[in-house]
Amino acid sequence: MPVTTLNGKSVHVNEEGFLTEYDEWDESLAAVLAEQIGIQLTDAHWKVIRFLREDFKAQGETATTRRVQQVGGVPVKEQFTLFPKKPGKKMSYIAGLPKPHGCV
C-alpha cells in the first residue's frame, strides 16, 4: 500500500487514496480529505462522519447510505446534498474508511 503525506502526517492509503488504517485518521485530517474533493465540512457533515466512524468501530464495515439513514438518522436526500453525486464513497473517504461493500 502506498504511504502519503496528509496534513503533515504519513498515512497509509490504497491505490485510490482511501485511508487503510482506522487509527491514522483524526478529525483534522477529515477537513483536509474533504477539501481535496471540494467539500467544506459543516456540522451536518460531521454528524455523518462521526456516525460512520462509530459504526465502523462497532460493525467492522462501512455503513451504506441506507444504514446512515436508518441507524444514523441522516436521510438519503440530505446525504446527496452534503456529499453530492456519490455520497457513499465520498463520506467514507472523508471518514478515513473503506468504501461501503453492501449493495443497499
Binding site: 500500500m1 502506498p2 504511504v3 502519503t4 503525506t5 496528509l6 504519513s10 497509509h12 492509503v13 491505490e15 485510490e16 487514496g17 482511501f18 481535496q36 474533493i37 451504506t64 447510505t65 441506507r66 444504514r67 439513514q69 436508518q70 436521510p75 438519503v76 436526500k77 446527496f80 453530492p84 453525486k85 456519490k86 455520497p87 457513499g88 464513497k89 465520498k90 473517504y93 453492501g102 449493495c103 443497499v104
Partner: protein, 180 residues
C-alpha cells in the same frame, strides 16, 4: 502504484480519488415489467446503486410492474415457487416438488421478506422512497394504465407521469437500458 508493502515510499502529492463528478453523462433506464416480489428487487437494487454512483436513473413501470407503484398493491407483492425450477427446499439442494409449490406462496413470500429484511434491504415501497430521495425518476406506462384502467391517483405520488413508449424513448436518449 509504484510502491509496495515492504518498502513504502512517501508520495509527494496526496493520492486523491477521482470521483469523476462532472465527467459522467452516463444514464440508466430500467424497465420494470414484473410484479413478483423477487423480480421487483433487481431493478431497485441496480437503480439505487446507479444513483449512488451519480448516474441519472429512470425507472419505467409497465404491465405487472405496476404492482410496484400502485398504492393498493405495492405493500403486498408475492413470491411464488410455482414454475420456478430453481426452487429448493429450505437449506437444501433438493428440488421442491412442483406439485407442492402452488400452495406455498404465502409461506415463501413470508420467508423471502424476512431474508430481505435481515439483510437490511427495505421493502418495495420504502426502497422506492429511497430511490426518489436519491434523485431517481419514476414513470408509468400509458398503454398498461389504459389497459388496466389505472389513473395517476392510483399510483405513488412520486411517479412523475404516465407516459407513452415514445416519450420514454425520448427521455432516455443515450441511456443504458435494462428490461426486467
Amino acid at each position: 502504484m509504484t510502491t509496495t508493502d515492504t518498502t513504502p515510499a512517501e508520495q509527494t502529492a496526496p493520492i486523491v480519488p477521482s470521483f469523476g463528478d462532472d465527467e459522467t453523462d452516463r444514464k440508466l433506464a430500467i424497465i420494470c415489467s414484473k410484479g413478483n416480489l423477487d423480480m421487483a428487487y433487481p431493478g431497485l437494487i441496480l437503480g439505487n446503486a446507479a444513483l449512488g454512483e451519480g448516474i441519472e436513473t429512470h425507472l419505467f413501470f409497465t404491465f405487472w410492474g405496476f404492482d410496484m407503484i400502485m398504492k393498493s398493491r405495492m405493500h403486498d407483492l408475492q413470491f411464488s415457487p410455482a414454475g420456478n425450477a430453481a426452487m429448493h427446499l429450505p437449506g437444501s439442494d433438493r428440488h421442491m416438488p412442483q406439485a407442492l409449490a402452488p400452495a406455498m406462496t404465502g409461506m415463501a413470500t413470508k420467508m423471502l421478506k424476512k431474508q430481505i429484511a435481515d439483510l437490511g434491504v427495505p421493502e418495495v415501497p420504502d426502497f422506492l422512497d429511497q430511490i426518489v430521495a436519491a434523485g431517481g425518476h419514476l414513470w408509468a406506462c400509458r398503454l398498461s394504465a389504459d389497459m388496466m384502467k389505472i389513473a395517476e391517483e392510483d399510483l405513488r405520488d412520486d411517479v412523475e407521469a404516465i407516459i407513452s413508449a415514445a416519450d420514454f424513448i425520448e427521455k432516455t436518449e443515450g441511456a443504458q437500458l435494462l428490461f426486467i
